[in-house]
């Protein structure tokens, strides 16, 4: 191997990424060539200094406050009643899931029943419906799934917001209508669940409707992406 060729192999040599048969000739050359030896030394210094850089740097104090505020807004927007705009097609900073909000109606009495039922339900065995083996039968498990759903919807919402311009207006209108239909169904089921929190079938139905909504959003996003 000539000097010219070896010069280009020095980076890999220094980081140990050369193959076995290449290492020896390169090492031999370096021992005999002052230019390459200097370059190797120099590379080693750069890499050593890079490794010595602080791995962690304190961020500004206000960063967490901003993040927390956005997270709380997310949670709040999802819990708020928002019948009008099912899809908001505008991308603002930290675009919220407000537009794709889940409608939750809980009277204070309803909330109390909900909370009590949750702790009581934690110990009951999970009834398995073979056709829906993965659905949550207990309210505690459902709460986790619900939060997952809400966050997935937020992500998908962001994606759809970005893709809005790629879809025909009639399709957008039809999609909005479908999402509204699903949201209304979710609202009805959620209201019923508030009154009857131990109802496993209701939980499974609600779970299924969440999945349908996410599936529709995901499919739309995927179909549009290729456009």
């Amino acid at each position: 191997m000539t000097h010219e060729v070896i010069r280009h192999l020095l980076d890999d040599y220094v980081t140990g990424e050369l193959t076995e048969d290449a290492r020896a000739p390169v090492a031999d050359h370096i021992a005999a060539c002052a230019i390459c030896a200097a370059e190797v030394e120099s590379l080693n210094r750069i890499i050593a200094r890079a490794a010595e850089l602080p791995k962690s740097i304190d961020p500004p104090a206000e960063a967490w406050a901003n993040i927390r505020a956005a997270v709380e807004r997310d949670k709040e927007a999802i819990a708020r009643q928002d019948t009008g705009a099912t899809l908001r097609f505008r991308r603002g900073p930290y675009a919220l899931a407000a537009a794709a909000a889940l409608l939750v109606v809980l009277s204070s009495a309803g909330t109390a029943v909900y909370m009590n039922a949750r702790s009581a339900d934690a110990g009951t065995p999970i009834a398995s419906n073979p056709a829906n083996a993965a659905t949550p039968a207990s309210l505690a498990a459902f709460t986790v799934e619900e939060n997952t759903y809400l966050r997935n919807v937020a992500v998908l919402q962001d994606l759809l917001d970005q893709q809005e311009s790629l879809l025909a207006p009639e399709t957008v209108a039809q999609l909005k209508a479908s999402l509204r239909t699903i949201d209304e169904a979710i609202l009805e089921a959620r209201t019923a669940l508030a009154r009857d929190p131990a109802n496993k079938m209701l939980i499974e139905m609600l779970s299924g409707t969440y999945r349908q909504k996410m599936d529709l959003m995901r499919r739309t996003a995927e179909l549009t992406r290729g456009t």
Partner: protein, 311 residues
């Protein structure tokens, strides 16, 4: 096979043979873009293996596919002014797409294809309708707002639309069909079928075919299902507000488990009556009809449920 279909295949075959004689050798790779001409016609032909993969992207217009018994791909298309048709690939797989002169206002393209019947076909369009006949291989069909029409029994059929209807005439052993606001109609039976809509109606008529596993779900669409149920089969019907109407043949047995939170249940299969649900609304029915058999589970939030015999 329907006589008109046979006729179509025979005519296509003759044309294809003649064409091949005229064009001579078969190229391995074709990548041709058509020049700028208003409403032009294109025709392409290339060898394609019997079990090859074929991908088609067409934004607007229609895509019509016929399955035939040759290892040849034949495409005839009519394009809008300025659009170009691109096709490439080889014996094991080919790909084609239409490139619009104006992305914002694409002109409709009509593509008609003849493909080896066992091909694995993947078609994606925006508003183009897709029509596939006599393809026995696998089908993956995606439209945003076109119609999907499948005739025949592909071994696998996956059809997805957002705002389009899906019509299936035949008995694919494995079917997945989803639409949001479009309707799904299935005339045939399947061993493993899952059909889903948001507001579109779902109509299934199995004729003499037997279903084994079926999952039908909708939010507000109305569902009618007529079919024979395999004794060891499992059937799930889920609806929020849409009606569910299930009809099974005389003397066919099944085990029903029906629950509705706020709707009604009408059982015309036997004298077994539903019990009222909680809070004074809704109903429940658990019933073994005609000695039992397939497990049928029906759940609705408020959609009314009817169980009956086929007329």
């Amino acid at each position: 096979m329907a006589p008109d279909v046979v006729g179509r295949i025979q005519r296509a075959g003759t044309r294809a043979a003649l064409s091949r004689a005229l064009t001579g050798g078969l190229a391995a790779i074709l990548l041709l873009a058509s020049p700028l001409v208003a409403q032009k016609k294109v025709e392409r032909r290339q060898p394609l293996g019997m079990e090859a993969a074929l991908r088609i992207h067409n934004m607007v217009g229609s895509v019509i596919v016929h399955g035939w018994n040759k290892d040849t791909l034949l495409v005839r298309g009519t394009l809008g002014a300025g659009d170009s048709f691109n096709m490439g690939g080889g014996y094991t797989g080919a790909k084609m797409f239409v490139e619009s002169a104006n992305e914002r206002d694409p002109k409709p393209t009509r593509l008609e294809l003849w493909v080896p019947a066992r091909v694995r076909l993947w078609i994606k369009t925006a508003t183009a309708s897709i029509e596939v006949t006599d393809v026995a291989g696998g089908l993956d069909l995606y439209v945003v707002s076109g119609t999907i029409d499948v005739t025949g029994s592909p071994r696998e059929l996956n059809a997805e639309a957002i705002d389009g209807d899906i019509h299936i005439t035949g008995s694919p052993p494995w079917v997945r069909a989803k639409s949001a606001s479009g309707a799904i109609t299935f005339q045939g039976a399947s061993q493993d079928a899952a059909l889903s809509t948001v507001s579109g109606p779902i109509r299934v008529d199995g004729g003499n075919g037997v279903f084994e596993r079926t999952k039908i779900e909708t939010v507000t669409g109305n569902v009618t299902f007529t079919g024979r149920l395999d004794r060891s089969g499992a059937f799930d019907f889920d609806s929020h507000g849409g009606t569910i109407d299930i009809a099974i043949p005389e003397k066919m047995g099944a085990n029903f488990s029906v629950v509705t939170i706020a709707g009604s249940i009408t059982n015309k299969l036997s004298k077994k009556t539903p019990t009222p649900g909680r809070f004074g609304r809704g109903a429940e029915l658990v019933s073994e009809e005609s000695g039992g058999g397939a497990k049928v589970s029906v759940r609705t939030f408020k959609g009314p449920v009817t169980l009956r015999r086929t007329k």
